[in-house]
Symmetry: C2
Subunit: 316 residues, 2 copies
């Protein structure tokens, strides 16, 4: 029987694609949040991310929010490498019966998200498609020497995380009717993510991090990805996780799933030397959640160590 | 009743989107083949183009050809502005049951097209989708002062066209079984387009053109787009059109439709001063097909003038 996309899973498929393409190209690229393209003395970070109505748009999401989201997920990838947003490009596939007002709403959201992060929609493409899909590409500016890769974590580094954990996951439960709890803050955290541009650019310019990525696939999956890219292990401590109070209160048995294994979060997961962490926390709202180790991705929980599963958001 | 995407057509929809976004942003952007992003002294041309299996993939198109095509249509947009390809990014939406070998074939095609034009696949995104869709973004390098816009045509300029007309359209007829004629050259012209990078870069560096775009929407539609962008008219002469011999021979009653009103052609449509045309034709294979006028988009045909319809390839 023929091997199908769903048999491999998203990361398996990406590995196959990278192998066809012959591995990463200098200076950086494949397998990181952005590629770095060098142009004379200038560095440009480029990232592309696609959303499909059937898989990425929860019930009740408004057109404006879809547009905001399509931009924000790309800008978050720039932020995680320390790049300042310059311009955004959208390709949109539209079923012919789609109301024009819906499309206008999407572009209003794109425009507003771009303005918020000092960039603009510079171009795009429209195409007919069987379902609504938006593919966004964001371009940012970063010096090549400032670009923060995923692969630089060193044993002994502090693992740090910006913001809070679990709110978007709780928002998803609410929108899908799996939770009776009403929590606007959770729903807004899911639908209107706020990429950490100021934080990423500051950390990159000051050379305070050894590695960085965003947590869009969920914290556990992100820890695994950072560990693989850096050839290290990661150990976090449950008691140190900045789980949002609403999630602590209403997460119940699902607390770990919400905080660790659900995507849609756009915080920065960082590794840095202890002294740099102390320096950076003066300017940036972030917490130490653990330490880079030499192998394994684990969590300390009530004094015991457990393995973190390598699962989170995956498209297949 | 609500206005739907198909009621407006592709260009009507693009106008609505541009109006939401507040019009073009400096220096160039919306409504041209590429946007120009300036970075210090460097200029970057960026373009994005999406293909959907249901609308852009004719029967029998091989995975390798799909990958080649996804890259080539973007590189053609760079070429038309005079930009040298630097890097390509792909977002791909994949139905879960898609054979992995098909996806690998697509990426082989992308890689080979990139290599042919001295660039590389630098990154991308994979996503689950209801149908196979590929959104590509290409980035190229061009000095801001060399970038050839659509809007610079001047009354009296020569209208020039690279290559030949009608082969991809004939190829499409053959693949859809509308023509009994066998013609590999036509099918190949459709499935494996060869963007005019060398020509575009040469013309831009030498400042020989006043306006340029590619003919991916068909010649008639492209003439209308160039006329609108430049605020001029266009008059071409049927006898001057470089219609491919196979199309002349087998086009029959459909000759004009094949040569003028079908997309899938990736030639450069150029306007230039007479003396620059004489200079450029020493280096580049192109023909004069007419003259920029002050209004109307017309064709001289056996001594009579007819209006060219503004139709061609449109997604809605």
């Amino acid at each position: 029987m023929k091997l199908r996309a769903e048999d491999l899973g998203e990361f398996g498929l990406i590995d196959r694609i990278i192998s066809v393409l012959g591995g990463p190209k200098p200076p950086y690229g494949m397998g990181d949040d952005c590629a770095l393209v060098e142009l004379g003395n200038e560095g440009i970070a480029v990232t592309t991310d696609m959303i499909a109505e059937s898989t990425d748009v929860p019930p009740g999401m408004k057109p404006w929010e879809i547009g905001w989201y399509a931009v924000a997920i790309n800008i978050s990838d720039l932020a995680s490498k320390g790049a300042k947003p310059l311009a955004f490009f959208s390709s949109i596939a539209i079923p012919p019966e789609t109301p024009v007002s819906l499309i206008e709403g999407i572009y209003h959201g794109m425009k507003d998200c771009c303005s918020t992060y000092d960039c603009y929609v510079a171009g795009g493409d429209t195409s007919r498609g069987g379902e609504l899909m938006i593919s966004g590409t964001a371009i940012g500016r970063v010096n090549a020497s400032d670009f923060i890769q995923r692969s630089g974590a060193m044993v002994g580094d502090v693992i740090a995380l910006t913001g809070e954990l679990g709110l978007p996951a709780l928002g998803l439960e609410i929108l899908f009717g799996k939770s009776e709890y009403k929590c606007d803050r959770a729903v807004r955290a899911l639908l209107i993510p706020r990429p950490r541009v100021r934080e990423g650019v500051y950390l990159a310019e000051k050379h305070l991090c050894t590695a960085s990525m965003d947590t869009s696939d969920g914290l556990a999956s992100s820890l695994h990805q950072l560990a693989r890219a850096s050839g290290t292990g990661m150990e976090i401590d449950l008691d140190l996780l900045p789980i949002a109070p609403e999630v602590m209160e209403h997460g119940g048995e699902d607390l770990e799933r919400l905080a660790l294994y659900t995507g849609g979060e756009f915080e920065l997961l960082l590794t840095m030397k202890e002294e740099n962490f102390e320096e950076a926390r003066k300017t940036i709202d972030m917490k130490s959640i653990g330490t880079v180790t030499d192998s394994g991705v684990r969590m300390r929980k009530s004094g015991r160590i457990t393995e973190l599963r390598d699962t989170g958001y995956s498209h297949f």
